[in-house]
């Protein structure tokens, strides 16, 4: 059952079919009871008054009648003449309510008697009127009592008159009661029930889906009363409900619209994401391949770098010099190179730094090491000549490889003095970082910039090559390093710096420690500086002291 049909069936209780339980019926019953009760009280009062009137009338009229006949009755008693007495009693019996008349003389002798047939007083009639039916009068003539007259009235007759009045009064009362009730019910129905029922029926026929489209009709003549207020309030409610429904429908439409648009957008975005995902996966595959390749390259580079470093045993076997070295590769191995070669007489030291990192840098570093070793083995030329040949050879190979690696490279050649142990001369050529020579706690900073040119950058570096020679004596300390050391960064990106290296190396050299001790102090200080900061570049350090 729909809501509308349900509402209509419920409103049926107020329609004409539901009269017995309706307001009109209740009003009819209530007014009937009230009017009947009032009418009953009125009738009772009327009856009481009628009762009293009848009694008074009976007494007054009877006495008046007695007064009229008193003289004739006295005359008849005085003369003791029954013939005269007869008309008196007959006359009384003409009165409708008289029942029994007796006339006595003064000797209590019956002169005349008359009576009507009377079945005997009913008990109720006797109770109502028994006290007003007996009349005794002495008969008086010229001051002498000559007899007496006794009159008895009929109680039944008087009561009958009273019943007639009572019945009439009751009939009028009932008719009046019904008439008042009928009028009240009719008026109530017309003024209240009928418009109420019509309004209820209109409410029942309101479409719950469109409550504001058919408003309730205003009952005629009720615009300004409570019913009008009710209908107006209901209509306001219906309009409000319609507004609410309209807003809900609009919101629903908007929501549906949004949902559709959102679905479209989600679908579109999903397609985009799928495309992006595919691209990412492709990229990821390539990156994974690249990473594997780079990882393998790094591994190879690191091994190349370490494979060709001089061993501690080799270093220990170098008679003229006490040499300690250090190399720490960066996470992405750089291209640090150093080598120390001892032929039983001279000590050759090479140190350099190939640009870039990875396999290519490692290969250039390896080629450099091999070339230096080859040239040293030949031992025919001076350092600048060696560097010139080296540059030509490396430049050619770097060009083959794609041409973007180059290196700084310095070569040192130490000649111990065969006459004096601990004395010697060192030749330096090639462009690299500065070389430190610490003597008596004071460091000389030997600039190599003018001694060479970046190797493998141009085909011929011979115009830029030069060499210098330094005397070395016992107690001297030579320090060689790559820029990974001086440019080691701390957590605030502060660089370690050449000044700090000079200070720490000078202090360490003054302690009289061997090369290994000096190296350890410098590296410990660099580690302190770095803290947790990762290495950006390889660190290489060579400490050499004559022995």
């Amino acid at each position: 059952m729909t809501d509308a049909a349900d509402a209509r069936s419920r409103s049926g209780a107020a329609s004409p079919g539901g009269w017995r339980r309706g307001l009109t019926a209740r009003l009819a019953w209530v007014s009937l009871i009230i009017v009947a009760a009032l009418s009953l009280i009125g009738s009772a009062i009327e009856l009481t008054l009628s009762y009293r009137d009848i009694r008074t009338n009976v007494v007054v009229e009877t006495n008046a009648a007695l007064d009229l006949v008193m003289e004739s009755a006295a005359e008849a008693a005085f003369q003791l003449n029954p013939t005269l007495a007869e008309p008196v009693t007959e006359g009384f019996l003409q009165l409708p309510r008289a029942a029994h008349v007796v006339l006595y003389d003064d000797f209590e002798t019956l002169l005349a008697e008359g009576h009507k047939s009377d079945p005997g007083a009913q008990p109720l009639a006797n109770r109502l009127f028994g006290d007003v039916v007996l009349y005794e009068r002495p008969l008086d003539r010229a001051g002498l009592v000559v007899g007496s007259l006794s009159l008895t009235l009929s109680e039944n007759y008087i009561a009958g008159q009273f019943w007639a009045i009572a019945l009439e009064s009751l009939t009028v009362g009932v008719i009046r009661t019904l008439a008042i009730c009928l009028v009240m019910v009719a008026v109530f129905f017309l003024i209240i029930t009928r418009p109420l029922v019509q309004t209820a029926a209109a409410v029942g026929s309101v479409d719950p889906k469109e409550p504001g489209n058919h408003l309730l009709p205003m009952p005629k003549g009720h615009r300004d009363d409570e019913l009008g207020d009710l209908v107006a309030a209901l209509n306001a409610l219906l309009r409000q409900a319609q507004i609410g429904l309209d807003q809900r429908d609009a919101a629903e439409r908007e929501l549906t619209d949004l949902t559709h648009r959102l679905e479209d957008r989600v679908a579109e975005r999903t397609r985009e994401l799928e495309r992006a995902n595919e691209e990412i996966q492709n990229l990821n595959r390539r990156l994974t391949e690249e990473n594997v390749r780079l990882g393998a390259e790094l591994d190879v580079s690191r091994r190349i770098q370490h494979m060709v470093l001089p061993s501690q045993a080799e270093l220990d076997a170098i008679g003229p010099l006490d040499i300690a070295t250090f190399m720490e590769p960066a996470d992405e191995v750089g291209g640090d190179y150093f080598d120390i070669l001892f032929d039983g007489d001279r000590v050759r030291i090479g140190i350099g730094d190939v640009t870039g990192h990875g396999l290519e840098s490692g290969v250039v570093m390896l080629m450099t090491q091999a070339a230096v070793r080859t040239l040293v083995a030949g031992d025919e030329a001076g350092l600048p000549e060696m560097l010139s040949i080296l540059n030509r050879s490396l430049y050619g190979n770097v060009q083959r490889m794609g041409g973007d690696r180059s290196l700084s490279l310095a070569l040192l050649d130490y000649h111990p003095d065969p006459e004096q142990a601990g004395f010697g001369r060192v030749k330096i050529s090639g462009q690299h970082e500065v070389v430190l020579l610490i003597r008596d706690g004071v460091a000389s900073v030997i600039d190599t910039e003018e001694l060479g040119m970046t190797v493998a950058l141009v085909d011929d570096v011979s115009p830029f090559l030069a060499s210098m020679e330094l005397a070395v004596q016992p107690g001297d300390t030579m320090i060689l390093f790559t820029d990974g050391l001086t440019e080691a960064a701390d957590v605030d990106e502060g660089l370690y710096g050449l000044d700090r290296l000079i200070r720490v190396a000078s202090t360490a050299a003054a302690t009289g420690d061997g090369s290994a001790g000096i190296r350890d102090q410098i590296i410990a200080d660099v580690e302190r500086h770095r803290g947790q900061k990762p290495l950006y570049d390889d660190i290489s350090l060579i400490v050499a002291r004559p022995r």
Partner: protein, 118 residues
């Protein structure tokens, strides 16, 4: 020396050519991958430098140049040196670490090069 360039990274450098002052200004960081990647920059340098009576190359704002870039720059300087009438001034910065030795080496490759370190 780290010089890895992430793939498809946005250009971290700018190259301005100012015809009025015959100045080419390169700034930012240059980490192009390999010598070949620098060819467009080399072409720009050569094209302008040859059409000007004298060329000013301002590198003072170039915080980093990888080894491929230094190789490119060296070749550019040698090319300029090989032209008798060429005049080249390079402006550098003392506060940029890579520039000190590298720029002085360029000057040594081309003795007529004017190097201004700020």
């Amino acid at each position: 020396m780290s010089e890895q360039t992430p793939p498809d990274a946005p250009p971290a450098y700018t190259l301005d050519v100012d015809d009025a002052t015959n100045t080419i200004r390169v700034s930012g960081t240059l980490r192009l991958n390999g010598v070949a990647a620098y060819q467009p920059i080399t072409d720009t340098l050569m094209e302008n430098a040859l059409s000007w009576p004298q060329c000013v190359l301002d590198l003072s704002g170039l915080a980093f140049l990888n080894s491929s870039g230094i190789a490119m720059l060296s070749r550019f300087v040698i090319d300029m040196r090989n032209r008798e009438d060429a005049s080249l001034t390079i402006i550098g910065s003392k506060s940029v670490v890579w520039q000190g030795k590298s720029l002085r080496n360029l000057q040594r490759l081309m003795p007529s090069l004017v190097l201004e370190l700020k």
